[in-house]
Amino acid sequence: MPVPSDIPGAPAPGQDPDSPRTPLCALDTLPPVGQARGFDPVKSGRDTVFALRRSDGVRVYRNHCPHQGVPLEYRKDRFLSGDGQRILCYAHGAHFEADTGLCTDGPCRGMSLASLPLVIEDGWLYLAVAPDSPLLR
């Protein structure tokens, strides 16, 4: 099953069922700490995951608020608080720790965003999730 990808120059993923891969982007195209970027890795028509840098590495979360299962951002790539330090759900204002995805304030306090496993290889950021995973839809 070929991965739908329009990333120029992305290496062919090669699906090994034991280590599934879905490419997101070249690592050096991720914005700096304090900003986030949404991705639609399987062409569902909207950004279903988002990635951000933290001091100790990259995090990728499913764009799916534990409160009502809707997208978090208010605008393309706007997932973070004004100071860039927290993730916010701009539907009802839930606050999440950027490092862990734990909701610290708001209607889903104590619940967490789904953090997706990732692989960095040859300068590319992949999700260690099969492209047909429901997590990406």
Binding site: P2, K43, S44, P71, R75, Y90, G106, P107, D132
Partner: protein
Amino acid sequence: MNIIGPDALVFGVDDVDACSQYLTDYGLQPTGDGRFEALDGTCVIIRADDDPRLPPAIGPAPSIREIVYGVGDAAALEAIAAELSKDREVRRGEGGSVHADDDSGFHLSFALTTRRPYTAPADLTNAPGHPPQRGPNLLGINWDMKVEPRTLSHVVLFVPNMEQAEAFYVNRLGFRLTDKFIGVGPFLRPAGTEDHHTLFLIQTPPFMKGVEHFTFHMGSGTEVLLAGTRFEAKGYTTFWGPGRHYFGSNWFWYFNSPLGCHVEYDADMDLHDDTWEARHRPPGADNSQLFLFTAREKWFPSGPPPKGGAH
């Protein structure tokens, strides 16, 4: 009491620039000092959350800090001040304005309305069986037609005790109940307007207290669809809509926002007078939307994208 409706909503926010950009893209006119106006001068006011001019916050920024009600005459201001002074602290401000908290802790103020008269075109319809509203060669739409928020329509509050909150607005400020979602909350209309609601209250746990959404009236359903389409094309995220509500008959389209609440476009709301008897219905999709369209970014002539991803 001749309360017309909200004239201004004041927010304390952590990202003033993002909110300013948002409200401008939504279609309001920036008129300086954090003020964003509709055609009649009703507005949203954005301030940094630590701005000393703001009343205290009721939750983490971004959040509502004050709801300013426009009243029709000075007598109404005095009546409001006298009524609220009976059991709470009332502060008087410039021009006789009245400042007090409602029973849920939202900061309210009342002032002579700042709404300006304005005229704007109606969306004329040609319906078979009815005399045409647009004669020959008059076009219904064109690509660059202007669609602007006309007037602040309503605000929706999450409240910890909807019965108590409703009683305050009805018994103390003369609002009337137009309709009610059983167990969820009332649609309320102040005496100075015929609009189905300028206030809707939703029962939630106390820590969610705040604004759920606010909206400005657009000129028509067409205008809601056009404004929402343009807003979405700028990258803004739909929360719910476009569609048409059952209670109030208004068109709706809700978006996420950096103000800490949803922001809606609405249009074509029912009008009511005091002879209306409130409907009580259970909440749920059937009673909240007559129909709903789901905006889809991609559409293919051969049909929607296959379910379950590419094969």
